[in-house]
């Protein structure tokens, strides 16, 4: 009675493989639904008179302003300039934040010695540094870059500091017992543990950097989308201004999509990703 007849080769099941992209598509659809909800809200609020359409125009007006914008070459120049400033600033902040964070976080002495200074420097708003930035670098990209790096560096640093602290003691002991070199330990134990924190840090820093790129351009006058925004604002071109706001918002969404994509690849082992990709 205990004999089993059901044999059948180990199923390299094809069904789930088909299911996965569909699930991802479903997710994208849900996200789209979220955006559409917001769009509908922005369209309706002014139309229903909840807000004055002169100050918050309906989405359709913003959108047509955006369409007009997108056709001008100066928009694309500005767009490229903004992206450049943003990308360079973010890259500097990420690299510096991660390196400094891992070094400081791994050495208890450094961690203790720098804690108060970090807490002192962190809350100083970049906007208060504008005169300094201008003084040091004029109004070119570098001045805005200074603000961008200053603001987003702390985001990364703090995330990395906490991430480094999260290393499993047993994993750390394993590394030590096999006498991993400091650098190997940082690379193979500390870094992967901190990675989920770094990804969050990246997402935070990416938007902070974007915000400061735009703000810097807006206030200092570094060329870019922010400068267009400043002009639109000064001229009372409301729809046109919101069109640019939409562009920055979309940039933010793109950054997040990118971060999620990266996360799915490099954090495959992490419980959060594991659970969500498991059947």
């Amino acid at each position: 009675m205990s004999a089993v007849t059901a044999a059948g080769p180990a199923t390299r099941a094809a069904a789930p493989a088909r299911r996965r992209p569909r699930r991802r598509a479903g997710k994208a659809l849900l996200g789209l639904a979220g955006i559409v909800t917001v769009v509908v809200l922005i369209e309706l609020l002014p139309r229903l008179g909840v807000v004055d359409p002169r100050f918050l125009p309906p989405f359709s007006e913003m959108f047509s302003a955006l369409v007009e914008r997108v056709q001008t070459p100066e928009f694309w120049t500005a767009f490229r300039q903004t992206l450049t400033t943003w990308a360079i600033g973010l890259a500097i902040a990420m690299v510096a934040g991660v390196v400094v964070g891992i070094v400081i976080g791994s050495v208890p002495f450094l961690r203790e010695a720098t804690a108060s200074t970090i807490e002192f420097l962190r809350p100083i708003p970049s906007v208060a540094l504008i005169p300094l930035a201008v003084l040091l670098y004029g109004t070119g990209m570098q001045a805005t870059l200074l603000l961008v790096v200053y603001a987003s560096f702390w985001q990364v640093l703090v995330q990395v500091l906490y991430g480094v602290q999260d290393v499993d003691p047993v994993a750390r002991d394993t590394a030590r017992s096999y006498r991993f070199r400091t650098l190997t330990q940082a690379r193979t134990v500390t870094w992967p543990t901190a990675l989920p924190y770094v990804v969050t840090g990246f997402r935070l820093a990416a938007t902070v950097a974007l915000i400061l790129t735009i703000t810097g351009e807006l206030i200092i006058g570094t060329p870019g989308l922010g400068k267009l925004l400043a002009v639109a604002q000064q001229s009372g071109a409301v729809a046109s201004m919101y069109a640019l706001v939409i562009v920055t918002g979309l940039l933010g969404v793109a950054v997040n999509l990118f971060a999620r994509l990266v996360e799915r690849r490099i954090l495959r082992w992490h419980p959060s990703v594991r659970r969500e990709t498991a059947s």
Partner: protein
């Protein structure tokens, strides 16, 4: 084979660490002030003979400090700012943890809300403020709102990630023992995510301070940030520097308070992480 009288805890062992702990308090203090003092010294020396209008000597800045702040500005400018800061921060905390937990628990909700949230997150506050003013006016409510909406992101993001990363086996344990949703939330999800929530809360603190300043740059008539901007505009540069220093000090003090609150909340976590690092 000498027999030691057996007591579970060696009495000698209990006094020594207490002394050590007392010593470490002084050490901790020295650690905390060491680097700042060095940096201040460098600043002092480097700026000593400064002719630059925008980089006055540190000596001059420090000399301006008392007259600038201690003659009424603390109550007139700093306290209102701090009030708005604290309220905004608390709102961000509640909102961030609440929404973050919901999003972290439900992949569907996350898929739905994330792009829209990311959209708003990427919009610079200086651009958003005019819109917010339409709804909330120009006074305290608006500023509190700006602080809250800016500071909520690190908390929200970290909470989402923390909740997502809660240990599987613990999760299973909780379902097996059929913990009620409320208990599960309290004892499993929030506690499990607390290290990361604290990270976010820490981040948010400095962001809140930054946004306090930014919100006071628009439609303001008092506040620490407002005062700094005023100094900056009226070319009262040493005064502006004292304001920046004061901002930093506010940051340090708030972070000390934060640490005092964080310590008991995360006692288990630090204990866990340190338990095997040296055992003492």
């Amino acid at each position: 084979m000498t027999a030691t009288p057996a007591t579970t805890t060696a009495p000698a062992a209990t006094t020594a660490p207490r002394r050590r702990r007392g010593g470490s308090l002084l050490r901790r203090f020295l650690m905390a002030v060491g680097l700042p003092i060095i940096l201040l010294a460098i600043w002092w020396v480097a700026s000593a003979g400064s002719e630059s209008f925008f980089f006055p000597p540190l000596q001059e800045i420090l000399a301006t400090f008392p007259t600038t702040w201690f003659e009424g500005r603390i109550t007139a400018e700093v306290l209102p700012s701090l009030y708005r800061l604290v309220i905004g921060y608390l709102i961000a905390l509640v909102l961030g943890v609440g929404v973050g937990t919901a999003i972290g628990l439900s992949p569907r909700l996350r898929a739905f809300a994330e792009p829209a949230l990311e959209f708003f997150r990427a919009i610079p506050p200086p651009v958003m403020i005019p819109i917010i003013m339409l709804f909330l006016g120009i006074f305290t409510t608006m500023k509190v709102f700006v602080i809250a909406t800016g500071a909520v992101w690190p908390i929200l993001l970290n909470t989402v990630e923390g909740v997502r990363g809660v240990d599987d086996v613990l999760r299973d344990t909780s379902s097996v023992y059929r913990l009620r949703p409320a208990t599960k939330l309290r004892t499993l999800v929030l506690r499990g995510a607390s290290p990361q929530i604290v990270t976010g809360a820490r981040q948010a603190l400095s962001i809140a301070i930054i946004l306090m300043v930014i919100s006071e740059m628009f439609a303001a008539s008092n506040g620490l940030g407002f005062t700094i901007v005023q100094f900056q505009r009226s070319f009262a540069i040493p005064e502006m520097w004292t304001g920046i220093i004061l901002l930093g000090l506010v940051g340090v003090i708030l972070s000390l308070i934060f640490r005092a609150i964080e310590r008991p909340v995360l006692a288990w976590y630090t204990g866990l992480r340190q338990s095997q690092r040296g055992g003492n």
